[in-house]
């Protein structure tokens, strides 16, 4: 289960993810991001309620990061310890801007 909430304000967009970002739910987020960030220059991923992420979820974050590198910036914030551990192991802690 993944709940996706977002706030769009002009050219900024904040995503609030709740639950699990895995093989089953990643396509849903990927599709949503693709549609939503075409005119965005500031993307924030709030992960305070994200409990779990697998490689399928990491792929979506990497792809969003690549897009935002071209058109603005992306920040990941409020990461839980368990998810942060996965960012560390995979080197994503260095790729993403984590606040």
């Amino acid at each position: 289960m993944l709940n996706i909430n977002k706030e769009v304000n002009g050219k900024s967009c904040v995503y609030y993810l709740e639950g699990r970002l895995d093989t089953t739910t990643a396509p849903q987020l990927e599709g949503d991001i693709k549609e939503s960030i075409t005119d965005i220059n500031s993307l924030v991923m709030d992960l305070s309620k994200l409990e779990y992420i697998s490689s399928a979820g990491l792929r979506v974050l990497l792809s969003a990061q690549k897009t935002m590198n071209k058109q603005g910036s992306m920040v990941v914030r409020n990461v839980r310890d368990e998810v942060n551990e996965i960012f560390d192991v995979t080197g994503f802690a260095d790729i993403l801007t984590i606040e």
């Binding site: 089953t24 990491l58 990497l62 995979t90 260095d94």
Partner: protein, 141 residues
Amino acid sequence: MNRSMKEITLEAKVENLEEVLAFVDEILSVYDCPMKTQIQIDVAVEEIFVNIAHYAYTPNVGIAEIQAEVSGDNPKCFSITFIDSGMPYDPLKKEDPDITLTAEERQIGGLGIYMVKQSMDEVDYKHENGKNIFNLKKYLD
């Protein structure tokens, strides 16, 4: 198969991932397993099962048999074995991704098996009697 071993047999398809994770989490729920360890196990199980679902029987769908148990004491050890009769495939042979590259240089993919290798205490693949047999072990301390 010994008494404490639990088993589930299902079609190797991504739609069944939730059922596989529920099977694993039910086994772990009896033990005082730290959240971090449980998530590492879930991630590893997801990566291996999805790998089988995506590649073992392509383009058909086949069966995956999963056996799991917790054994030993101080520390207890969770062991899970995935068995399929699909194409011989050793995911451990896959080259590790370079995790020092920048976002632009990073490839999408290759991370799953790497995460399994990093987070589990033992990973073992063998091909026997026409079956892929993949075992993971993780100490629950």
